[in-house]
């Protein structure tokens, strides 16, 4: 079928339709058809628009393609597409992207070349080429590596400076470059992170250490940078032992301390003196003591260290000899120095926290102990090193010898308590005694050494400490109104057997107690102690506590007269001279008779009532009886009773009263009443 020719209007309509739908290629074709029939300016314009839009579409397509190529690292293809797109659209960003791609292409070429150069050992060239590439992390490491291999150590150090070293290869390279430029300490720091058993590496590390040692000696000879030399040297000593520079490092430490002392940098000095050495000779001891004194002048933070060193120092013969050649003056200086430290401790204890107060308590104890040891040792030079505080003895391993010294000189001590207490403070249980002094009962108990964990030589002292601590803790429990665990009784008896002053302490506390619950606790413990150790003191105290509690219970109506009577008699049996109990007993008797009398009267057991009243030695009982009778006599008129009955009652009443007291005035009253009736 022959195609029907189209007219211009229908072609234009079709073209417009395509144009409005943004289908520019078809729109362009139709507009061109129409223009071939008759050229029109507006159609020509629209054809231009179509051409421009078609170009933009093409450019978009090209950009899309270019990006895909770039993504696949096909940089050359990507560049070609971007260039074509730029030729169409001329947009600036496409031009920038083209430049970037050109750079990447060149960098990629350099990287290739650099790798080739590195592989063939041309490190200098490779480093240069790596430098020309884009500086990614890997490339920078490679460049630094090539710089090391090329022997450009300064540049290599600069290149490594800002890189984070993550593998041994980089660490080795950086360390090697540092060593080559004379920075041995930094090299060893870096290489310290390399865990390797490679013998060549270990040997090389040792060589660098040796170079550092040599360098430190050079610096030591030409400068006074003792701090710097010490800091670098100590790292070698700490990591490898001595490293041939132990003495140099030590020397620099003391030289630096000298400088720090002048600058009053005592906290830094303390840092240099820690940890404490195992042995403490006189000059070093003085340094420690003075440093902690200076620190204590500034703050109350290190008071326990001051106590530990100060007393030991001022009593040290080698040190105190330097005070003065004259013994009297030497003693005066020692006293003055002790006073200086004590003033400091008091200053903190007065305004300070609990730890300062604790420190002062410890000081007072240790001061006395060291004085005792000094007196015990006297002029014996071989023993003078044992004059030290318990803390110092523990820290520097002198406790065992001191314990032996105390045991060998039992006669020196004023009494058994003095002997045991001194030995106790220097024994394994010593810390518990210090806690006890500070009323830290839980700590004192927890700090006691377990049986078998201490030396047999100190067992008598430890045993004493256990008894002392358990007794004090037990007493504290009683004061707090808590009962005692059973095992304490036995250790308490042992303690009392050694020294009776603690027995008296318990007795005093018991006697001073006035609350029924506490009295009960004291009565229980005294009872148990009495069964194991029936001393007069315990008997008397038990007697008093027992009677005091009984009357309290009676007054609170928690005990009847009968039990009260029994208890008081028991108390009097323990201590017949218990005046409190014997006084009570009289009152108790009256109460018992009154109770019985009331009981009989209330039940109209008049015969029994008469007997009680007649036999009682107490007026009070008879008075109560006659009061009852008087009341009955007075109330007789009110009773609904005939005359015969009343006369009978009065005769009975007369008989009861006469049985008790034939001369009592009530008898006349009864007679008068009888006559009236």
């Amino acid at each position: 079928m022959k195609k029907k020719p189209q007219n211009r209007d229908s072609i234009l309509a079709k073209a417009e339709k395509f144009f409005n739908r943004e289908n520019y290629p078809l729109a362009k074709r139709e507009f061109e058809k129409a223009n071939r029939i008759a050229v029109q300016d507006d159609i020509t314009e629209k054809i231009k628009i179509c051409v421009r839009e078609i170009g933009q579409l093409k450019a978009k397509d090209l950009v899309k393609k270019a990006r895909k190529y770039a993504k696949k690292s096909k940089l050359r293809e990507a560049l070609r597409c971007f260039e074509q797109a730029y030729g169409i659209s001329g947009e600036d960003w496409i031009r920038e992207r083209i430049n970037q791609l050109k750079g990447d292409l060149s960098s990629s070429d350099s990287l290739k070349a650099a790798r080739q150069a590195e592989a063939s050992g041309e490190y200098e060239k490779a480093a240069g080429l790596y430098a020309g590439t884009q500086k990614g992390k890997d490339t920078r490491f490679k460049m630094a590596h090539c710089l090391v291999r090329a022997g450009r150590y300064d540049d290599a150090v600069s290149a490594f400076k800002d890189l984070t070293l993550s593998d041994y290869s980089a660490m080795y390279d950086y360390g090697f470059a540092l060593a080559k430029v004379g920075k041995y300490h930094q090299c060893l720091n870096i290489w310290g992170s390399i865990e390797s058993d490679d013998s060549a590496f270990l040997k090389q590390r040792a060589s660098v250490r040796s170079l550092l040692a040599s360098d430190l000696y050079d610096r030591f000879e030409h400068s006074e940078d003792f701090a710097g030399i010490y800091k670098e040297g100590i790292s070698i000593v700490n990591s490898t032992g001595d490293g041939c520079i132990g003495d140099l490092v030590e020397y620099c430490k003391y030289a630096w301390i000298d400088q720090l002392w002048k600058e009053e940098q005592y906290e830094t000095i303390r840092g240099l003196l820690l940890p404490f050495p195992t042995k403490m000779e006189a000059d070093l001891l003085t340094l420690y003591a003075k440093t902690f004194f200076k620190l204590a002048e500034i703050s109350g933070e290190h008071l326990s260290d001051l106590i530990m060193f100060w007393l030991t120092t001022v009593y040290h013969p080698e040190i105190s000899w330097k005070f003065s050649a004259r013994p009297e003056e030497r003693d005066n200086v020692r006293r003055a120095l002790i006073q200086k430290a004590e003033d400091l401790l008091k200053k903190y204890a007065d305004v300070g926290d609990k730890s300062s107060k604790t420190a002062l308590v410890c000081w007072n104890v240790e001061k006395k102990l060291v004085e005792d040891l000094q007196a015990l040792v006297g002029d014996r030079e071989d023993l003078s090193c044992l004059v030290c505080s318990p803390q110092f003895a523990v820290r520097f391993g002198k406790s065992r010898r001191i314990i032996q010294l105390i045991r060998d000189n039992r006669g020196f001590f004023t009494d058994l308590e003095h002997y045991l207490l001194t030995g106790g403070y220097y024994s394994s249980a010593g810390p518990s005694l210090f806690h006890l002094e500070n009323r830290q009962y839980d700590k004192a108990l927890a700090g006691l050494p377990v049986s078998g964990s201490y030396d047999t030589a100190e067992s008598e002292f430890v045993g004493y400490c256990v008894e002392r601590v358990q007794f004090a803790c037990g007493l504290h429990c009683l004061e707090e109104g808590e009962s005692l665990p059973g095992q304490y009784i036995e250790t308490t008896v042992n303690l009392f057997n050694k020294t009776s002053k603690y027995e008296q302490e318990l007795i005093d506390k018991a006697i001073d107690s006035h609350e029924p619950d506490k009295l009960r606790l004291y009565e229980d413990i005294l009872n148990e102690l009495h069964s194991m150790r029936p001393t007069k003191g315990i008997k008397d105290a038990l007697s008093l506590v027992m009677s005091r509690r009984a009357i309290m219970m009676f007054n609170m109506r928690q005990m009847n007269s009968k039990v009260l009577n029994t208890t008081i008699r028991k108390a009097l049996k323990l201590n017949p001279e218990n005046e409190f109990a014997s006084g009570l007993l009289g009152h108790v008797k009256v109460n018992v008779e009154i109770e019985k009398l009331n009981h009989a009267l209330n039940r109209y057991k008049m015969g029994k009532a008469c007997r009680i009243a007649a036999m009682s030695e107490n007026e009070e009982v008879r008075d109560l009886f006659f009061e009852f009778m008087e009341r009955n006599l007075e109330e007789l008129d009110g009773h609904d009773m005939d005359s015969t009955g009343k006369a009978f009652f009065l005769r009975e009443l007369y008989k009861w009263c006469a049985d008790v007291d034939e001369s009592h005035p009530i008898l006349d009253k009864i007679n008068n009443k009888s006559q009236v009736i």
């Binding site: 004379g182 590496f201 170079l211 140099l248 000298d258 003055a336």
Partner: protein, 89 residues
């Protein structure tokens, strides 16, 4: 209080030098008069003088002198050869 510092005086002052130093310190007015007087008193009294000397000075010479500072044979840095044991390539 460091009386030596207050009086700007050396470790072993004579009585006369202490008095002179105290007078100078008073003219200088760097420290309070009371402090200066206390410092002078501390150093003039024989017992507190020795006490202060002990407190304010350290002498570490004996600790340093016993140390052996003989250096061992030195190596040269040029003897360090690059090791390839950690080479990644």
């Amino acid at each position: 209080m460091n009386p030596y510092k207050i009086l700007s005086i050396n470790k072993h002052p004579t009585k006369q030098s202490i008095i002179k130093a105290a007078a100078f310190a008073m003219r200088e007015r760097k420290y309070d008069i009371k402090e200066i007087a206390a410092a002078q008193k501390e150093l003039i009294d024989p017992i507190s003088g020795i006490t202060q000397q002990f407190l304010q000075f350290i002498d570490l010479k004996s600790l340093r002198d016993r140390l052996d500072l003989t250096r061992s044979e030195a190596q040269t840095v040029s003897s360090l050869e690059y090791l390839s044991c950690f080479d990644l390539s």
